[in-house]
Symmetry: C2
Subunit: 366 residues, 2 copies
């Protein structure tokens, strides 16, 4: 067993590799390219696990993240966040060292970008088919057409196609609901492709729930899911994965016990897990307790869950049996609700054999 | 106006200094020592603003944080988080370079610590008067007595007194309710001091809502509030401060607008603000919009608030007038719900005149 002192984010490499190869195989059998979203892991070393599996294209959510991976040799990078014109110099510099695709959702943004760039950049327009976060409404053909025209009028910008993140699948309550949202998105993108002339227009989408559970990818060129690399309790609740597929877990030292409330308090709070939570069995849950073992961890222990977090404290509600077996100074394992945010806060990973893997946000030795 | 590219955490130094001197004056007039909790700012440079105001003692929430400030010359540090025996070597090393006080809430922890230390360490026992997070229940005199005996039997540990964080004031709905919780805590601590023999036993407490709004500090030696240095929307809602006292604000670039939903999307999401939220006027609020100005910022704009965040996206609901005036590429100011978590995520501060201040967690150039 590893000797750990503080809250530590463990990664099970074999589970992670399994998750990666399952998605790569699914992409292959559905004849779509996998350009995984790296915002979940934000790690150069984990990115290499992808390239070992044949992945050559990366999707990211910020210019900074694109730079992080470009500097490590990734040559085909797509930033699926609406372009921030204030970063145009950084974007232009990036485009000089890799094949860069950015997201542009307005004529204003095209104009601000096109004035200042000196390198060729590919452009995706983000399409909203019902998530209502960002992107052009898929029925707004005149609005979309104006952006395409603006892009086409700039010598260094190339209109590449349409992208959609159907984040509304995260609110689905059944596989049928995920299927309905996904089918609507695929059909919406194909409708636009046909309307704007078919040839050369590429379609991509990327939400883990749909990419994991659906097989309808008609006309789609690229999928960009990210969370599946680790999964988490949210994805397990959605049906994207089984709990056994979750590839990261927090290890947290026990610092206090209260026998009357059957509570175990760990060093591990909002600055480690984030404050993301889920209703599971009617209870507000910030994580589920597992048993740490030298080669990984057990299934979650029934009736034992992280019921609240403050800055550094995490409070676990446990059964009387588990309460008796755990002592101050023990390490307790906890599956996170949202792996992207937990990894971002922790800033590094520890493998089961004790190696440290990088994360872009950097370790804080919490 | 500062030239900013990405989400940036602004700090108004004059407001911060005002908040610090107001609390220092309050402590002075109530004859209690102010040992401010540094977990809110986690900044060596902001810590210096405290020492300039005469503060000599620091309160922190982790061993790592204690090390951060000890290495910068702080000589009197109290860690108000239940001791984690796995960090005993780090604790012992710290005690060799500063006057260190730790929190011990069980005989088990005393035994694990006392076996391994080689330097003198002072001990506070944490008391629970109703928050029910950690600490010994204030009526459990036998249990508390056993810990004191265990501490006294270790040559290098010195029992110093009792500490209570009445975090339940954060759930209060009125100043009367804060007063009731606080009075109960002060009386509970005095009851224990009297029971265990008065002389030499020191009492301390520290929650911003009570320290800001109350004046009853009978028998209390030290107060340890932290959040008041910046305040935030949560404290304004509790009545600890006015909105005008909030000393930090996020500046976020506009990246998308949707006229039908009157939404402005900014680069600034859960990895910048955290996912902490509040119900304000019946609406789930992740922040309030302000007008950024060269010398600070305006009051919050009525009807304009951060209504949701995902990893990098923040969605503002705004009025038609504000919607028209804001364009892609503009910087928008937002007051945070919880300044401790926002600062921890951002990892650095920018003053209004463009200087960068450190934060222990380190800048991620998000």
């Amino acid at each position: 067993m590893l000797k750990l002192k503080r809250p530590t984010l463990l990664v099970d490499k074999s589970k992670t590799l399994r998750n990666i190869s399952a998605m790569a195989e699914k992409a292959g059998s559905n004849r779509v390219t996998l350009s995984p979203h790296f915002k979940t892991h934000q790690s150069r070393e984990i990115a290499k696990w992808y390239s070992n599996a044949g992945v050559q294209s990366a999707t990211v959510s910020s210019v900074t993240m694109a730079r992080y991976f470009a500097d490590d040799g990734w040559e085909d990078i797509t930033i699926v966040f609406p372009v921030n014109p204030r970063e145009v110099d950084d974007i232009d510099a990036l485009a000089s060292i890799c094949s860069l695709t950015i997201l542009i959702n307005s004529v204003d943004a095209v104009n601000m970008i096109s004035e200042k760039i000196t390198n060729s950049i590919k452009v995706l327009i983000e399409i909203d088919t019902g998530y209502h976060r960002t992107g052009m409404w898929f029925e707004d053909k005149p609005g979309i057409g104006k952006i395409i025209d603006a892009v086409n009028s700039c010598r260094l910008l190339t209109f590449e196609g349409f992208y959609c993140h159907s984040g509304n699948t995260y609110k689905a309550r059944s596989l049928e609901e995920i299927a309905t949202i996904h089918t609507h998105t695929v059909d919406g993108l194909n409708f636009l492709k046909k309307y704007f002339g078919e040839s050369g227009i590429k379609l991509s989408l990327g939400d883990t729930p749909a990419c994991c559970t659906q097989t309808y990818f008609k006309g789609i060129d690229t999928i960009r899911p990210g969370n599946f690399v680790f999964y988490d309790l949210m994805q397990a609740q959605l049906g994207s994965c089984k709990e056994a597929d979750i590839a990261i877990a927090m290890a947290c030292p026990v610092v206090f016990k209260n026998s009357e409330r059957l509570e175990i308090v760990v060093y591990g709070g909002g600055v480690h897990f984030s404050k993301e939570n889920l209703m599971i069995n009617g209870k507000c849950t910030f994580g589920k307790m597992i048993e740490l073992m030298p080669d990984g961890w057990s299934e979650s222990l029934p009736g034992c869950y992280l019921s609240s977090v403050s800055q550094e404290h995490g409070i676990l509600r446990v059964t009387p049996e588990v309460f008796e077996k755990r002592h101050i100074g023990d390490m307790i394992g906890i599956l996170p609700v949202h792996s992207c945010l937990t990894a971002d806060l922790m800033g590094e990973y520890t493998t089961l054999d004790g190696h440290t893997l990088d994360h872009m946000s950097g370790a804080k030795f919490r």
